[in-house]
C-alpha cells in the first residue's frame, strides 16, 4: 500500500531503478484489433492496424484523428477494455496485452465520465482505493488531497447529477488520479463541455499534468485541442498511424495529404519534380522544394495559408522567395486577418488561400486585383502521397 504513496511523485520520479535504460511508459508493437463484421458472412473489420508506438514517461501524448480512425480502440486496448488481436502492449516494460483492466496500472477518464450515479463524489473518488484495499485513513487522506487538487472542496457529499458538466469532469479526473496511475488515459474528456469551459479546462488539464508528472494519453478529434496541450501527437486514420511528432513538427511538416488537411487549413500544390530540390508547378513556375522523388514524377506540396504573403506584382521579385502570380477571386474578412482566394494566372485550377494579417503597413487588395503570392521555400513541405 505504501508504495502507492511513494509513487506519488510519479513513475518519472526517483522510484525508477538506477542504471537501467528506462522503458517507455506505453509501448505498442504491432498492435492490431479486428472486430467480427456485422452479419454472418461479413469480413472482420480492422479497427487498428499493426500500430507501433512508444510513449515516453511523463509525456502528454495525444491520439488525434476523425471518428472511426481507431484512436479510441487503441486507448481501450491500453486500458484493457479490448484485447488486441495481435501485438504487444507494454506499460513500463511489462506486457499487459491480455490482462483485465483491474490488473493494469492505468486509469481512465471516460468520455461520458461514467461517474457512479448512486455514489457521492467522495465515494466515487474513493472507489478505486477501496477496491485496492487501501485502509480507511489513507483513503480519506488521499481523497481529500485529490479533491483539493481539482478544486472540488465542499462538494464531497453531492451526487454526480447535482454537479455541472465541468464539475463532473473534475470528479472523473480526481477519481482516476487518486490511484496515482502510471499512465492516465483520457477519452475525449472535454467533448461534452461547451467551448469556453473546454478552453479553460485545456489549460487546467495541461497544468495538472505538469504538476503530477503522470503520462497522459489523450484521445481527441479536435486538432486545436491536440496542438494546444500535447507534447507529442499521433495522427491516425483508418486504423493506421500516419505521423507521430511534436505539435509543431506535425503542423509545419505534415507528411501526408491527410495530416496536412486534417490539421489546420492548408494549400496543396501539385508539381513535377525537376531535381532533388526543385519542382515545377502546373503553370510552369519553378519552386524550391526538398524531395527524394524521382525526376519527372509528381509531388504534392503543402503550404499553410499564413505562410504565404501577397505582394503587388509590380514590385521587384525577392529571389529568396518562391512565387506564383494570380488574381484575387474573393476575400473574407476575419478581423485580425483577411483570407484571400487567389486563382493562378496560367492555371485556373490552381487556387491558393492566403491569410494576410491586418496590421498597419500590410498591403491590401480587393477582388480582381493582380497579385504575387510568395513564400519562404522552407515553409513548403513535400507530402508522401
Amino acid at each position: 500500500m505504501s508504495d502507492v504513496s511513494v509513487a506519488r511523485s510519479g513513475p518519472s520520479g526517483a522510484t525508477a531503478p538506477e542504471g537501467a535504460e528506462r522503458a517507455a511508459a506505453v509501448a505498442l508493437h504491432g498492435v492490431t484489433k479486428r472486430f467480427p463484421g456485422a452479419g454472418k458472412a461479413a469480413e472482420p473489420v480492422t479497427a487498428v492496424d499493426a500500430i507501433d508506438l512508444e510513449i515516453a514517461d511523463g509525456e502528454f501524448f495525444s491520439l488525434l484523428g476523425p471518428s472511426g480512425c481507431g484512436k479510441t480502440t487503441t486507448l481501450r486496448m491500453i486500458a484493457g477494455f479490448e484485447y488486441p488481436t495481435a501485438g504487444s502492449i507494454r506499460i513500463f516494460g511489462e506486457e499487459v496485452g491480455l490482462e483485465p483492466p483491474n490488473k493494469r496500472p492505468v486509469n481512465t477518464v471516460f468520455q461520458s465520465y461514467a461517474l457512479f450515479p448512486h455514489m457521492t463524489v467522495a465515494d466515487n473518488i474513493a472507489f478505486g482505493l477501496q477496491m485496492q484495499g487501501v485502509d480507511r485513513a489513507e483513503t480519506t487522506r488521499r481523497v481529500a488531497e485529490v479533491i483539493d487538487l481539482v478544486q472540488l472542496q465542499g462538494r464531497e457529499a453531492r451526487r454526480p447529477k447535482q454537479l455541472s458538466g465541468g464539475q463532473q469532469q473534475r470528479v472523473a479526473l480526481a477519481r482516476a488520479l487518486v490511484n496515482h496511475p502510471k499512465v492516465l488515459l483520457l477519452d475525449e474528456p472535454l467533448g461534452a463541455l461547451d467551448l469556453k469551459l473546454r478552453q479553460t479546462m485545456q489549460v487546467e488539464l495541461k497544468q495538472l499534468q505538469e504538476r503530477v508528472g503522470i503520462t497522459f494519453v489523450y484521445v481527441t478529434h479536435d486538432q486545436e485541442e491536440a496542438l494546444t496541450m500535447s507534447d507529442r501527437i499521433a495522427v491516425m486514420d483508418g486504423g493506421r498511424l500516419l505521423q507521430v511528432g511534436t505539435p509543431q513538427a506535425i503542423y509545419d511538416r505534415p507528411r501526408t495529404r491527410f495530416v496536412a488537411d486534417f490539421i489546420g487549413d492548408t494549400n496543396l500544390l501539385t508539381g513535377t519534380v525537376v531535381d532533388a530540390s526543385t519542382a515545377r508547378l502546373g503553370d510552369g513556375s519553378p519552386i524550391r522544394i526538398e524531395t527524394d522523388r524521382a525526376e519527372g514524377s509528381t509531388v504534392t506540396v503543402a503550404i499553410r495559408p499564413e505562410q504565404l504573403g501577397l505582394r503587388d506584382p509590380d514590385h521587384p521579385r525577392d529571389p529568396a522567395l518562391d512565387a506564383v502570380h494570380g488574381r484575387v477571386e474573393r476575400l473574407t474578412f476575419l478581423g485580425n486577418a483577411t483570407l484571400y482566394d487567389v486563382v493562378a494566372d496560367n492555371d485556373p485550377t490552381l487556387r491558393i488561400r492566403v491569410r494576410q494579417g491586418n496590421a498597419p503597413g500590410i498591403e491590401h487588395f480587393t477582388a480582381g486585383d493582380a497579385v504575387r503570392v510568395r513564400w519562404m521555400p522552407s515553409s513548403a513541405s513535400a507530402l508522401d502521397d
Binding site: E21, A23, H29, T85, G133, K182
Partner: protein, 308 residues
C-alpha cells in the same frame, strides 16, 4: 492485496522483439467471457427447458395420441385424428366466434384508446404522469376480480339494464351473451391498447404537426398525414397485444358468457376439466391456437415492439 503493479519491470537487455500475440489469443479471453455469460444464464435456461420447452413438446406429442372410450389418453396409437376434428362444424363455429369477438374487441379498444392516448400525450408533463398512474392502477389490479365486477353491472338488476329499461328498451340481456363477453374483454385489455399508443404519441415530435400546419395542412390533414402514420407502430402493437389474449380468452367468457358465447379458450379447458375430457383433442386445439399466436407475435416484433 497489492495496490498497483510492481515498479517497472526492467530486463537486463531490453527486449527489442516483444512477444506478439498470435491471432486467437484474444479470442481465448473473449471465449472465457462468453462462457461466463452462458453460465450466468444457464440455471434460468435449464429451468425454462425443463418447465417450459418440455411441456410444450409434450402438448405437441399428446396432440397425436388417441382417446380411449373411457376418456383416458392412449399413448400407443399415434394419428392425426385430433387435427382432423379441428374442421368439425362445432369447432369452426367456436373459432369463428372467437375470431370476431377478438377482432371487435380490438377495434373497440382502438377506437376508445386512440383519442384517449392522444389526449393524454398532449397534457402537461405533470398532469400526464398523474393520469397515467390512474390508467395503471386498474391495469395492475386483479383481472379476475375486475371481470367479476362486470357481472354485477351487467346483471338483470344491474345499472345498465335499468338504464336501458328507463329509456324504454326492455328485455335486452347483456350478461351471458357475446356482448357481455366483449364488454369484459374491452375492459380487461384496454390498457394494453392505451399504453403502446401513448408511448408512440408521446414520442411524436409536436413540431412535426406544426410544420404540417405551416405547410398549409388543415388540422385533419395534419392528423392523417403526420400524426396517424407516425403512431402506426403503436396502433399495431396495441392491436396485437389486445387481440392475442382476447382470442385465447378463457376466464372472461366463463364469467360473463353463456351457452352461446363459448370461446376457444373455454372450449380447450373443457377438454381437460370435467367429464367430457379429451386430452389429445385439447392438445391439438392448443397447438393450433399457439400457431395463430406465434404468427401474431411475429407480426408484433416485426412492427417494432419489444417487451410487453
Amino acid at each position: 492485496m497489492s495496490t498497483t503493479v510492481p515498479p517497472p519491470d526492467v530486463q537486463p537487455d531490453f527486449d527489442t522483439s516483444p512477444p506478439v500475440h498470435g491471432a486467437g489469443l484474444e479470442r481465448d479471453a473473449e471465449k472465457a467471457a462468453s462462457r461466463r455469460g452462458f453460465l450466468v444464464g444457464l440455471p434460468s435456461y435449464a429451468y425454462l427447458v425443463a418447465f417450459f420447452a418440455t411441456p410444450l413438446l409434450i402438448v405437441v406429442v399428446y396432440s397425436f395420441a388417441s382417446r380411449s372410450v373411457r376418456g383416458a389418453t392412449v399413448l400407443t396409437d399415434w394419428n392425426l385424428r385430433s387435427y382432423g376434428r379441428l374442421t368439425d362444424s362445432l369447432v369452426l363455429t367456436i373459432a369463428w366466434r372467437s375470431l370476431w369477438i377478438a377482432t371487435l374487441t380490438t377495434l373497440v379498444c382502438l377506437l376508445i384508446a386512440y383519442p384517449f392516448a392522444y389526449y393524454l400525450s398532449t397534457r402537461p408533463a405533470r398532469i400526464r404522469a398523474v393520469l397515467l398512474v390512474l390508467v395503471m392502477i386498474p391495469f395492475w389490479s386483479n383481472f379476475l376480480v375486475r371481470t367479476y365486477a362486470w357481472r354485477m353491472l351487467l346483471g338483470g338488476d344491474g345499472p345498465f339494464t335499468r338504464l336501458l329499461e328507463a329509456v324504454g328498451i326492455d328485455g335486452v340481456q347483456l350478461l351471458f351473451t357475446p356482448t357481455g363477453v366483449m364488454v369484459g374483454l374491452v375492459y380487461g385489455y384496454l390498457p394494453f391498447m392505451i399504453l403502446p399508443l401513448y408511448a408512440a404519441l408521446e414520442r411524436l415530435d409536436h413540431s412535426l404537426v406544426e410544420a404540417a400546419r405551416d405547410l398549409y395542412a388543415s388540422g385533419w390533414q395534419a392528423f392523417w398525414k403526420v400524426t396517424w402514420p407516425l403512431s402506426r407502430p403503436g396502433v399495431i402493437a396495441g392491436s396485437i397485444l389486445v387481440f392475442i389474449p382476447s382470442f385465447g380468452a378463457y376466464v372472461t367468457p366463463e364469467i360473463l358468457g353463456g351457452r352461446g358465447s363459448t370461446m376457444l379458450g373455454s372450449y380447450i379447458a373443457r377438454q381437460f376439466i370435467g367429464s367430457a375430457s379429451d386430452w389429445p383433442f385439447g392438445s391439438a386445439l392448443s397447438v393450433a391456437i399457439l400457431v395463430v399466436m406465434m404468427i401474431a407475435a411475429t407480426a408484433y416484433f416485426r412492427a417494432g415492439g419489444k417487451n410487453l
